[in-house]
């Protein structure tokens, strides 16, 4: 497909159809669906946070249905072991009676992995996902097993249940492209949910795209140009989250222990590129960056004791940084009108 306009239009149409298919099952949550798809097209993983019963798992399952990708669900529990996720070597006997070790692949060997209630597993088990999420490969007994592309992890966690949960370590959190908060549905959406789930009507989800299609879309995303001053803005945003940095925002200085990593910048740029394409543009704008800043940065900002004590939400800090950071600055760092 040489014509770029056609490729962009094709990209948008796939996105539109996926949304339509998901919309058949999922009521509301437009923002969540949009952000999940942005992460998918950018090649990142998503952490969905919300109270039980909001349709997180259903959303992931529906997405896997319309994407024609191999899907697996891992229910994280405290006794879940890394081998339960990655797989393990088991002793196998052949026809001649010879025994040998054979790697039994775990549920991670899928294209869409739902890590349900990820914070219920121990950090040891959670860490089993690290290599898979970052390098799209797992290593067992010294053997490296690449995962099939596209590889997309969607994890869910419950923010209110603290007992028996293990908060995700920073390294693990940083590997999630977006952290998306699933809000409680509105009244009209609730009515619609009741209608759909308490009647005999069932909605069949059509397959819209397959693995190669998603990969082609991810390739197209990476080609979208971004101007240097927009990249400069991204860099300043990231630096503003670091309390000891030169360009730190006042709130970050006061309430943040660790700021966002370079992965945050990558997430902002890639998310911005997807959004630009979805908006029918061929370049990334400041608005695209601002729109994806919250899901891309909220889990990468670690509050200090004062921030925790104040009960601050990292969203407020990100919002503050967005307000404080000028989009374009001149050589002396002054905002350009």
């Amino acid at each position: 497909m040489e014509n770029l306009e056609a490729r962009a239009e094709w990209f948008r149409s796939i996105h539109r159809r996926i949304r339509e298919e998901i919309g058949k099952v999922i009521v509301g949550h437009e923002q969540v669906v949009e952000e999940v798809l942005i992460a998918l097209f950018a090649g990142g993983h998503v952490l969905l946070e919300g109270v039980p019963g909001l349709g997180k798992t259903l959303l992931v399952r529906t997405l896997s249905q319309c994407l024609s990708l191999r899907y697996s669900r891992i229910q994280f529990t405290p006794d879940l072991m890394p081998a339960d996720i990655v797989g393990t070597n088991v002793v196998v006997q052949d026809r001649e009676g010879r025994r040998y070790f054979e790697f039994q692949r775990g549920p991670i060997f899928s294209q869409i992995v739902l890590a349900d209630e990820i914070n219920r597993a121990t950090p040891k088990t959670q860490s089993a996902l690290l290599e898979a999420m970052q390098e799209h490969a797992v290593t067992a007994s010294g053997v490296r097993y690449p995962l099939e592309e596209p590889f997309f992890v969607l994890a869910t966690q419950n923010p209110i249940e603290m007992e028996g949960t293990y908060p995700l370590p920073e390294a693990q959190l940083d590997r999630f492209f977006f952290k998306i908060k699933v809000q409680f549905p509105r009244a009209d959406e609730l009515v619609e949910i009741i209608d759909r789930t308490t009647t005999a009507n069932s909605h069949a989800v059509a397959v819209v795209a397959d693995g190669p299609t998603i990969l082609a879309m991810q390739d197209l995303v990476r080609e979208v140009p971004i101007a240097s001053h927009v990249k400069d803005y991204v860099a300043r945003l990231i630096l503003a989250t670091h309390p000891e940095g030169e360009g730190a925002a006042p709130m970050a200085r006061k309430f943040v222990r660790y700021g966002a990593s370079p992965r945050g910048a990558q997430a902002l740029v890639l998310g911005g590129k997807v959004r630009a394409l979805l908006r029918g543009r061929y370049n990334v704008s400041f608005e695209d960056i601002r729109e994806v800043a919250l899901p891309a940065l909220r889990h990468r900002i670690i509050l200090n004791f004062e921030g925790e004590a104040e009960g601050l939400d990292p969203d407020a800090i990100v919002q503050h940084i967005l307000e404080e950071t000028p989009e374009v600055v001149d050589a002396r760092g002054r905002p350009v009108a």
Binding site: P225, S228, R281, Y282, V336
Partner: protein, 557 residues
């Protein structure tokens, strides 16, 4: 320059200015990277349509910056002028406010426009500003950068079509309007403030400062000028001197102005210069008239000539009076004596104008022929001519005096506020009877010709030894010891009302202070004046000695 030529020029400009193009928006180490980016992009291709879109933006930004810089620098200039005005409360600053304002407006304007014009925005800056003003979502800047860095990118064509379709020329003009700079109201306000200050508060000074001393000096010079003008007016009225009278009014007006109005030094000097120029022009006119009367460049001093002309007038009048009996009765006392007087007059006054001498010769001829009436007419004509010449010379003298006084005043004002006041610096003789200061003209000083001006002693430290000259400090002398101890109350010996009693004032030890002796200038001046009048009236020597002793006795009191 055609559009394509401009496009090529912009491309060249972009390459040559690569170092400061995009670098304006980045700091520190990033700038070097961006420079490299631009250098590597110098082979890139910028589309003509993109350049056509950005060129008007650059021009408009440049104009807007030039106007802003112009108004800013003008405002700074006017504020500096305001600062100068405030400084003038304390210090004398010999600069005209209107000139300063003109320099601030013109200079600030030119420098501002030049500076603003030199701040030409780069293409990238123009693109970024265009994006922001038109809400293009960074299309233009991305397009420009992509054109230079990845000219073969498949995104270039759709991005260009997308970006250019969003940037309508009309919208561009609206987004970058050439409007009145935002500091203009401040400029107008400050300008109005400066002008209002100049109109209402000009010349205001804080007491005790140098500026205040200068203002005081100007007022004192105004007093002196008015005094001189009064004297000139009197002389002009008595002697019928039209030019002297006319200019005395102006001089008086200037003196009053100096006293009443708050003038700055530069304005006072300008007004003096203006009047001096007018006096000079009048003097030149008088010189021409004197030249026409054959009294052009003269060898002898004006005072001598004035005296001689006065003497000639009197002698002619005397001869005419001698001729009168011949006219009435046909006979007189001594015709020979009259003829010899005329001869003497002609021989003695051979430096007089030729026309006057010819008229006298004609009168002599007519007198010897017995034409008494003709002789009387000729003598009358000669007398009128001598009187007119006399007045012309007096007029010229008056102007010379006014001119020199103006020069002195200008020097005093220019010298500043320190030292003695003009009244003090003047000799006691000048201060004495309200005469014009340092008037050395025999015509105006003595009121009549016939006296030589005494050479005044030079003024200066330790030179005031002659009575009637010198300065106040020389009269008072060095400080002398006085009693430092406070005065004790008067002591009384004896009982009041019974027998003799004596009061004693007990003084303590000495203390150093300045003793004051009141100078008796009036008496000294009176002696000199009396001497002059006695000389003029030809008082016999013994009587003159009596009068002198009287005044000396008076002086001892």
């Amino acid at each position: 320059m055609s559009i394509s030529e401009r496009g090529r020029w912009l491309q060249r400009s972009l390459r040559s200015r690569a170092s400061w193009g995009i670098g304006n928006f980045h700091r520190g180490g990033r700038r070097g990277g961006m420079r490299a980016l631009w250098r590597s992009a110098s082979h890139g291709h910028l589309s003509q349509r993109l350049l056509e879109k950005l060129q008007p933006v650059i021009w408009r930004i440049q104009w807007a910056r030039a106007l802003e810089a112009m108004v800013f620098l003008q405002l700074v200039g006017i504020l500096l002028v305001a600062g100068t005005l405030l400084l003038q409360l304390v210090l004398p600053i010999d600069l005209s406010t209107s000139l300063l304002v003109a320099i601030a407006l013109l200079g600030g304007g030119l420098v501002g426009v030049g500076y603003g014009w030199a701040q030409r925005p780069s293409l990238f800056e123009a693109a970024v500003l265009l994006d922001r003003r038109l809400g293009l979502h960074e299309r233009m800047a991305t397009l420009l950068e992509l054109s230079l860095t990845h000219p073969s990118s498949p995104f270039l064509a759709p991005l260009q079509a997308d970006a250019l379709s969003h940037a309508e020329p009309r919208e561009v003009a609206k987004a970058f309007p050439i409007r009145i700079p935002r500091r203009t109201p401040w400029l107008i306000l400050s300008l109005a403030g400066v002008l209002a200050w100049e109109l209402t508060m000009a010349g205001l000074t804080i007491p005790g400062t140098v500026a205040s001393q200068i203002a005081q000096r100007i007022r004192e010079e105004g007093k002196v000028l008015e005094q001189v003008a009064r004297e000139m007016e009197r002389r002009g009225r008595v002697e019928v001197l039209p030019e002297t009278r006319r200019l005395s009014q102006k001089l008086s007006e200037l003196g009053r102005k100096f006293q009443k109005e708050r003038l700055e030094r530069v304005d006072a000097l300008a007004k003096i210069k203006e009047l001096t120029r007018e006096i000079e022009a009048t003097r030149i006119r008088l010189e021409e008239r004197l030249k026409a009367e054959e009294l052009g460049p003269r060898q002898e001093p004006s005072g001598d000539l004035l005296r001689r002309l006065g003497s000639v007038s009197r002698r002619i009048r005397s001869i005419r009076e001698g001729i009168a009996p011949f006219e009435e009765r046909g006979t007189g006392k001594d015709l020979r004596s009259l003829l010899s007087s005329l001869d003497e007059l002609q021989q003695e006054e051979n430096g007089l104008p030729q026309g006057l001498l010819q008229t006298l010769e004609e009168a002599r001829r007519k007198l010897s022929e017995g034409d008494w009436q003709g002789a009387a007419r000729s003598l009358e004509s000669a007398e009128e001519r001598a009187t007119a010449l006399h007045r012309l010379l007096l007029d010229e003298e008056g102007l010379t005096q006014a001119h020199s006084q103006l020069q002195r005043s200008a020097e005093n004002i220019a010298r500043g506020g320190g030292g003695e006041s003009p009244m003090e610096a003047r000799s006691p003789h000048d201060r004495g009877e309200g005469k014009p200061p340092r008037s050395r003209s025999p015509g105006l000083d003595q009121g009549a010709p016939g006296e030589q001006e005494p050479v005044p002693p030079s003024l200066g430290p330790y030179t005031g030894t002659e009575p009637g000259t010198g300065r106040v400090v020389e009269f008072t002398g060095p400080p002398t010891p006085r009693l430092r101890t406070p005065k004790a109350p008067l002591q009384l010996r004896g009982i009041p009302g019974e027998g003799k009693s004596r009061w004693t004032e007990v003084a303590g030890k000495g203390e150093e202070s300045r003793s004051v002796r009141i100078p008796r200038r009036a008496i000294v001046g009176a002696i000199q004046e009396a001497d002059r009048y006695m000389e003029r009236a030809r008082v016999p020597a013994p009587f003159r000695e009596v009068v002198r002793r009287y005044f000396q006795e008076l002086a001892r009191w």
